[in-house]
């Protein structure tokens, strides 16, 4: 994402380092907008539309949540809204979807964890180092190389999948975690380098200059000066990348296939939707098992999460 009127990610070191130009005007602005909002919301149409949108956006998820705790027989015979007249509660669906022989979501859950952690950590680390080199190490051909990495961002990952898979097969790695880790790391790099480079550039050169005068080399400057300042940006992007990997279907499907040894939750869930499309007691509970981690991350780290999502949304 390039910069625009409303930059999704404010430069992290801005607080305290640059001048806060808008500070004195804040009050009037808030007052103005509050007054405006008041006039707007007195219109019943406006609030009506907002409420309808909010309901449309929540009810489908709520229906799945409610269904997942209803007994199988009830799910098959009546809609989830009948729960309000006939409340029932069971965890059988979850038990079956997690540990049942045909579904075994618990195994796939572990696979998802095993895939997602390294596939977030490795590209973020590599991208940080590369971004540092692009931002603060002078070498010949730097700009050209950076433009090359920048333009790799728009390459859709579909275009690399099959030759990559062939190489994995050739090197005897196909169907192992390594292929998924390596693939995700590769595909994450262009965007990660570009974004983190932007953050690095926002750091005042005087800080780095000062560290250099004190005798620090590049490695020291990277760890002692830049990393601490970049923590919010790194957190946001790591969370984004973690969830991207957790939610990914295409790479996992291609590299891991359907094997219970490697495949993550998304692959299993999509498969279940095809093979047992009418078993709603399994599908609803399975969907919730698959989305529970993103939901927890979303609810607990919303600030970082929104930032990361916005900055990373153009990834292929």
């Amino acid at each position: 994402m390039t910069t625009t009127g409303g930059p999704p990610i404010p430069p992290p070191p801005a607080e305290g380092l640059t001048t806060t130009r808008t500070a004195p005007r804040k009050l009037t602005k808030a007052e103005l907008r509050a007054a405006e909002a008041k006039t707007r919301l007195t219109s019943p149409w406006a609030s009506g539309i907002a409420i309808v949108i909010a309901i449309l956006w929540t009810v489908p998820t709520f229906g799945v949540l409610l269904s997942s705790i209803r007994p199988q027989a009830s799910i098959q015979s009546s809609g989830w809204w009948s729960w309000f007249t006939n409340p029932e509660f069971t965890l059988d669906n979850y038990d079956q979807v997690l540990y049942g022989t045909g579904t075994a979501f618990s195994t796939f859950f572990i696979n998802s964890v095993t895939i997602a952690l390294p596939a977030a950590l490795i590209p973020v680390t590599l991208a940080l180092l590369a971004a540092y080199a692009f931002a603060w190490i002078e070498f010949r051909g730097r700009d050209l190389l950076f433009v090359a990495v920048f333009s790799l961002q728009i390459v859709p990952l579909q275009i690399a999948l099959i030759p990559l898979l062939r190489e994995y097969v050739n090197w005897g790695l196909a169907g192992s975690f390594w292929t998924v880790w390596i693939s995700h790391s590769i595909f994450a790099l262009p965007l990660a380098i570009f974004l983190l480079h932007n953050f690095m550039k926002d750091i005042p050169p005087s800080l780095i200059e000062a560290a250099r005068v004190d005798g620090a080399g590049h490695v020291k400057i990277f760890f002692r000066v830049l990393l601490p300042l970049l923590v919010p940006a790194i957190a946001a992007f790591s969370i984004y990348q973690f969830l991207w990997v957790w939610n990914d279907l295409l790479v996992a499907l291609t590299m891991a296939g359907g094997t219970p040894n490697v495949a993550p939750l998304t692959v299993r869930l999509a498969e279940l939707s095809g093979s047992r499309g009418a078993d709603w007691h399994l599908l609803t509970a399975g969907a919730l098992v698959a989305i529970v981690v993103p939901l927890i991350v979303f609810l607990s780290l919303q600030r970082f999460f929104v930032r990361g999502m916005l900055s990373g949304s153009v990834k292929g």
Binding site: T2, G5, G6, P8, R25, T39, A46, I53, P60, T61, V64, S78, G79, T107, N111, T114, L117, L129, A130, A135, W136, E138, I154, V155, P156, I159, A160, I162, P163, L164, N170, G172, S176, I182, S183, S185, F187, S206, V213, G217, H218, D248, L250, T254, N261, T266, L269, A270, G274, G286, A287, A290, I291, V297, F298, Q302, M309, S313, V314, G316
Partner: protein, 408 residues
């Protein structure tokens, strides 16, 4: 390479007036900025050299093998079982920890050697920082992309050169034309509708008491995987036969029944099923549009709004004549980002219909042709099509943003 001037030059360049006061754009660090002022050790220099040789050797082996000069073909048995054959929970998690530790160890050695080596030139430090990423991008993205482009001109087994035939097929065969039509429908409807709803919602909840919660509700679907969202909506569209004593379990059909209509096969009846799949994508992308546009709305300068208010603008006219023009750059970014995401959308169709019932799009067809049909030529051509289709969108965005900057 003048290796002996480390110390004095740092002092000269440290003059604050030269470098530190410039704010726009970083001042170029002196070309002979070394890794450190202390003397490094020869041992680490050797380590660094060994690492370079290993990396270059590895990449060379890979490429020579790819081009058939070498003929290395490894078996799965080549690797120890704990690396590629994990089956239990504990072995998987252990492998994960080992992989992370291995990565950390390698990176530590690379950085330590770059830091401690004796008097190495700047490009060597840069190579240590950049090398791993550059290798991965070169061998794992650039080379495969070129290879795919090449394969798009070959037949289904990638054996014989057939020129543009795959592309001709894509544009002339009726099955593929349908895929292209569907893709076009997706790419037009999803960005416009989700941006519109997101914008309206952002304006409606801006500065209200419930703003945070209201926005969270809309943004929530962004957190969920496309597969999860597909299941959620498949349940909404669930269909039971229209018979006595059979209740609908899907919300959409129940609403139809309540309104006195007969239940529909939302996902099967073409061409409308494509629209019902598109709804899922809109449901996901609206939160993204809403959040970005909301931030842009809050950035509109006060004086503009004040002036408009003095001129008697309010409500819908304020929205039309002030808000929308003021956030135009953000609108372009949102539209472009959603377009690019939509173009590559694959998960929803794969999960909800599997591309049947005339719902396939290019990204889904790529998967289907490559892995189900084993038609690598057409699959590669579809992947290239995706790539080429993205380019005008990106150019449009760059132009628009440049235009916006000129106006400012």
């Amino acid at each position: 390479m003048a290796l002996s001037e480390t110390r004095p030059d740092s002092d000269v360049a440290g003059g604050p007036s030269a470098a530190t006061t410039t704010t726009e754009g970083a001042p170029p660090p002196p070309a002979h900025w070394r890794t450190g002022l202390k003397e490094g050790s020869t041992a680490w220099t050797i380590v660094l050299v060994v690492l370079f040789v290993a990396a270059i050797g590895g990449a060379a082996t890979f490429l020579l093998n790819v081009f058939g000069v070498l003929n290395i073909e490894l078996d799965r048995d080549f690797w120890p079982n704990w690396m590629v054959g994990t089956t239990t929970w504990s072995s998987k998690l252990l492998l994960m920890v080992i992989a992370i530790l291995m990565f950390v160890a390698v990176m530590t050695i690379v950085l330590l050697s770059a830091d401690r080596a004796r008097r190495i030139p700047n490009w060597a430090v840069a190579a240590a920082f950049l090398g791993p990423a550059a290798l991965m991008l070169g061998l794992g993205l650039l080379y495969p992309a070129i290879r795919t482009i090449r394969e798009s001109f070959f037949d289904r087994q990638s054996a014989n050169f057939i020129g543009w035939d795959n592309y001709v097929d894509i544009f002339t065969q009726s099955g593929f034309q349908l895929v292209l039509r569907n893709t076009l429908v997706w790419v037009i409807i999803v960005p416009i509708v989700s941006t519109f709803i997101g914008l309206v919602y952002a304006v409606l909840v801006d500065r209200t008491r419930f703003e945070a919660v209201a926005k969270g509700l809309i943004f929530l679907p962004m957190a969920i995987s496309l597969v999860g969202a597909s299941i959620i909506w498949k349940f909404v569209y669930a269909f039971r036969p229209d018979q006595e004593g059979v209740e609908q379990i899907g919300l959409a059909n129940q609403l139809l029944v309540w309104l006195g209509f007969s239940p529909q096969q939302f996902l099967i009846t073409s061409p409308w099923n494509t629209l019902f799949l598109i709804v899922v994508m809109i449901w996901i992308q609206t939160g993204f549009a809403m959040t970005l546009l909301s931030a842009a709305i809050k950035n509109i300068p006060d004086d503009i709004i004040e002036a408009a208010r003095l001129d008697g603008l309010s409500g819908a006219r304020m929205f039309r004549y002030i808000t929308v023009p003021a956030i135009r750059p953000a609108l372009v970014v949102v539209l472009v980002a959603i377009t690019m995401t939509t173009l590559k959308a694959f998960d929803i169709i794969y999960t909800m219909t599997g591309g049947q019932f005339e719902t396939s799009v290019v990204a889904n067809e790529f998967y289907f042709q490559s892995f189900r049909q084993g038609n690598f030529g057409v699959g590669a051509a579809l992947a290239v099509f995706l790539f080429v289709a993205v380019i005008p969108v990106v150019i449009y965005q760059i132009r628009q943003l440049r235009l916006a900057e000129e106006i400012r």
